[in-house]
Subunit: 375 residues, 2 copies
DNA sequence: GCTTTTTGGTTAATCGTTTAATCATCTAAC
DNA sequence: GTTAGATGATTAAACGATTAACCAAAAAGC
């Protein structure tokens, strides 16, 4: 703990007295006595306290460089005695990273996506990253705007559940070298990392459940406009099943929707009823609840008049008085998987694209029952 | 549009040839031909394109400095021809701002807070800021951790719905000069900006509604542990009403809870039933739904056996089969008001603290009815 | 004892902006 | 024809961190 070494600087500190020395944004309320004026403790402060150069402190804290273990410990101690933490702006500038990721989802009001966000945030936080969440509400312009915003913000990567499988943002982001993970649908022309739910087995389980109850006229909703790989896979599975089990699919039973929330569920009821189904498979819980509301308004009861099968199994479908039969998706795991994928790609940008397929299982509740005898 | 001026540099560019010139983190996949390699267009690029100095470009884009209007326009054109946008890290470093705000809420799974976040995000986005959302799940340690994280991230301010009215983080943040807006409760010893709901009129309206139906034994739940200014105000209103209308308050009818979600609603049912109420006023929708579930499990029906009055009026309470009577809060507006407050304080740190009180109104649905004759 | 290697640091450049201070140049004034 | 003022752009110094290159002193090799 001797006096700091005399610092024999060989190079003079650049010119006797420099003429220009502005002091930008000199906050009037600067650090009081020795106050921790808003985390203003810089690495230089720590260096001064240790009688070392900032470079050494940086090395000590980052674990790099050769140095005496004693020094490293001393620096560490001083750093957290002062409550030092590196300025993200400064290291971001130098390292060209923001430690911030973007998550763009269809609907922030849907608890499904809340859970996904929670899973992703947890994994990212453990890796020292932050998550910016944005909801595009199934509006392509909003999606584009959010992506632009995130790019401006220089996020290190984006997790996106895209509106459709041919959104232009996707190839653009990949071309710009931005790590990208898609949720649910893939992109038609641009391979990317990707997390999805097995589109076949769980849906088949649901359809079999309905068929076992005696349903033959089963309607299904599909999301994502004309172009969604996940919707197409669902459709394929549905068609295959209907052909084998129920005298062929009928186009009127297939209803394509632009959004999957309460409102569009209510609005979809006339289209759904047109083909006189005895059961409906909805794309998610919220949509199912909207449909259910529309059915009630039309004087139809679930499941007495019509069975309803949802997807997601958020806590909504378990509420007393609601009790939807639903395909339970591993929501947290979806978020976690996406976060892990994007961290891996950031670490190793050249790797091949990976697709993670997660399972789902049927949670039978009270929205499905045998069809009315009168069909 | 002439050739770039000959740049008569009076000061030579420092030393014939500088010895040290490291190239940190030289990404192998550098900008291809003239590619926009991940938004890498810097202000220097724009300056070169215009034959101007970076300073001039900066001034032109920021609107500062004296300059020919023609130049300004030329720079603007070049900037968005190149798709330039300033690096947040660089300007953050220079300007000591991050253009990022933190929002710390009790429960991300509660749609109430989703709406608040949406409102806040909208106002902030318009001001060019971003929002980092974190959920403390009514756990003081999580709250402390999130606040620490946000400080490390150097957010420009925090919007917090604190766990209690004596959390240590609050005075600490104020002392550090960090703009702070509290939601719902105030802090006991530290004045701050603050957004809340009128704790009297709406609750009184709800209580009168129940009293008019014939209820005298009305239970109420209170959040925030022992110390929450909002809970105390609610309690005061409740006590006053009960004294006038219902033969004095009874301590057993007052139930204090640590968290307000489905799970703790279910768990609170025995405590709530102990004093044999005919109606229950729950602190929010989610808690009310949990209570409702617990009551169902105990063989009691709402509203036939017990009336239930919720607060928040999220879309949950409007679902068919749920239909809770609830106090409708202006959720979006809460978020918007908080965002505006924090922006104002950032702009003018010295101003006096402001408290914004928003109204609420009763949405009567089907969870309230006259008490059973057999009381 | 002199050179080489190792150890434990330091220096200076750099990331991309902003901005106070400065400076050329052109115009108006005396 | 100087001088003074405006005008319009430039210079260079920050902001706070990281890191390649360098270097002094101690240890090792011959």
């Amino acid at each position: 703990m001797g006096a700091p070494p005399p610092l024999s600087r060989r190079h003079p500190p650049r010119g006797g007295d420099t003429p220009l020395r502005p002091k930008p944004a000199a906050t009037p309320d600067d650090a009081p006595p020795g106050g921790t004026g808003r985390g203003r403790i810089t690495i230089a402060e720590v260096a001064r306290r240790c009688g070392l150069s900032v470079a050494t402190v940086s090395n000590a804290l980052s674990g790099g460089g050769r140095m005496a273990e004693g020094t490293r410990a001393r620096v560490r101690a001083a750093a957290d005695a002062l409550g030092y933490s590196a300025s993200p702006a400064a290291r971001g500038l130098r390292l060209r990273r923001s430690w911030t990721l973007g998550l763009v989802i269809p609907d922030i009001a849907n608890p499904m996506y809340g859970e996904i966000a929670r899973g992703a945030a947890e994994v990212l936080e453990a890796a020292g990253c932050h998550l910016l969440v944005a909801s595009h509400d199934s509006c392509p312009e909003r999606q584009a705007r959010h992506v632009r915003n995130l790019l401006r913000q220089r996020v290190d990567g984006v997790i996106l559940q895209p509106w459709s499988s041919r959104d232009e943002e996707v190839p653009a982001m990949v071309a710009a070298g931005l790590p990208l993970v898609l949720l649910a649908r893939r992109h038609l022309s641009q391979p990317t990392d990707h997390v999805t739910i097995d589109p076949r087995a769980p849906l088949l389980e649901g359809l079999r459940h309905l068929a076992a109850l005696g349903h033959r006229r089963i309607a299904i909703t599909l999301m994502g406009g004309r172009a969604s790989t996940s919707a197409e896979e669902r459709l394929e599975t549905y068609r295959g099943f209907m052909e084998r089990q129920a005298g062929g699919p009928e186009e009127g039973l297939i209803v394509r929707l632009a959004r999957a929330d309460l409102e569009s569920g209510r609005a979809a009821v006339p289209a759904l009823l047109a083909a006189r189904p005895t059961a409906i498979v909805a794309s998610n819980d919220l949509l199912a609840l909207g449909i259910r509301e529309g059915l009630h308004a039309a004087g139809l009861r679930v499941p007495e008049d019509l069975s309803l099968l949802a997807v997601d199994d958020t806590y909504l479908s378990a509420l007393p008085g609601v009790e939807l039969t639903s395909l339970e998706l591993p929501k947290r795991q979806i978020g976690e998987a996406a976060a892990r994928l994007i961290l891996e790609r950031i670490a190793e940008p050249g790797r091949a694209c990976e697709s993670i397929v997660l399972p789902a299982r049927l949670a039978v509740r009270r929205s499905t029952a045998p069809p009315r005898p009168a069909g």
